[in-house]
């Protein structure tokens, strides 16, 4: 498979580490200019450091419409049109529903789901005009399977699947695809927070008997962003070592 994406421009949220960083690096390897975002200045600096001449890191609060507008304006001025949006930024605030606070529900839904509404809406105008665009949303296996202690996270991640299907139907005629990638348990800071007992219990259910690597998610994202995936839209690709086959 030859992928040529030379000269395209991508925005990847939550790109300072983990899956987002791997996505940014693999897009760069395809010749894409990448703007990676983080919530802190130091995160943005880290991104600029690893991207080098292939893009830049920027501080972005995905829950703030003004912050989004500023970022997109800067991209437009410095890089031109945006071809690829990867909505990867996400947080967890786990608790049993009986103990879950309103703030923890709202924060997770806002950062993981409403942010995707905001960003997608903001980039669509340009993509519609050019009759080309790729929106790739990072969902999660638990959006399909559920996971105790994560009602908020699971609701947001399942929400992305429905959102993507609906938007995919709205804009398919304009050459824009909207898809999800649903990672299973990936070796990132988010899963490092799991206890050894939790990990062992999870491994027992993963046929591949290991955590996935961020690069394995990134490879799927790059494929969906490529010209070869132009006819795939509204789809969720699960990358989970066989943990859930849907």
């Amino acid at each position: 498979m030859t992928i040529t994406m030379e000269g395209q421009v991508a925005l990847v949220t939550g790109a300072s580490r983990g899956i987002g960083k791997a996505i940014a690096e693999q897009l760069v390897a395809q010749g894409v200019k990448v703007i990676g975002t983080a919530t802190s200045d130091s995160g943005a600096e880290d991104i600029s450091a690893y991207l080098g001449e292939h893009g830049e890191g920027r501080r972005l609060d995905v829950t703030d419409a003004e912050s989004i507008a500023e970022t997109l304006k800067a991209i437009d001025e410095n890089y031109g049109q945006l071809d690829i949006l990867v909505n990867n930024a996400g947080i967890t605030k786990d608790n049993l529903l009986m103990r879950l606070k309103d703030d923890d529900w709202d924060a997770v839904l806002d950062t993981n789901l409403k942010s995707v509404y905001r960003l997608s809406k903001a980039v669509l105008r340009g993509m519609m005009k050019r009759r080309f665009g790729r929106i790739i949303n990072i969902s999660s296996v638990v959006g399909t399977t559920g996971n105790p202690g994560q009602t908020n996270y699971c609701a947001a991640k399942a929400g992305l699947v429905g959102f993507s299907k609906a938007l995919a139907q709205e804009v398919a005629g304009r050459g824009i695809t909207v898809n999800c990638v649903a990672p299973g348990f990936i070796d990132t800071d988010m899963t490092k927070a799991l206890t050894e007992d939790q990990k062992q219990a999870i491994f027992a259910n993963i046929p591949a008997a290991r955590l996935g690597q961020p690069e394995e998610i990134a490879a799927t994202v790059v494929f969906l962003a490529s010209a070869g995936a132009a006819y795939i839209t509204g789809e969720t690709i699960h990358v989970n070592g066989g943990l859930a086959m849907v």
């Binding site: 105008r125 519609m128 005009k129 709205e170 804009v171 005629g173 304009r174």
Partner: protein, 79 residues
């Protein structure tokens, strides 16, 4: 310089891929000119750019015919 009416009609012809003679004042974008809802959104986007104005969503939803588009621009354009 073309009149507002001529410029609006030109955009409608380009955006919807229709013939000039079809673009009558009373023609409805969706019922007569074959536009779907996203086509009309794009049409409004094109009008915004041509006339360097921003059309609020609640106004945009009322622009359903050729005449409505001409009227809106006539009343709001910056030039």
């Amino acid at each position: 310089m073309s009149t507002i009416e001529e410029r609006v009609k030109k955009i409608i012809i380009e955006q919807l891929g229709v013939k000039e003679e079809e673009v009558k004042p009373e023609a409805s974008f969706e019922n007569d000119l074959g536009a779907d809802s996203l086509d009309t959104v794009e049409l409004v986007m094109a009008l915004e750019e041509e006339f360097e104005t921003e059309i609020p969503d609640e106004e945009a939803e009322k622009i359903k015919t050729v005449q409505a588009a001409i009227d809106y621009v006539t009343n709001h354009a910056n030039d």
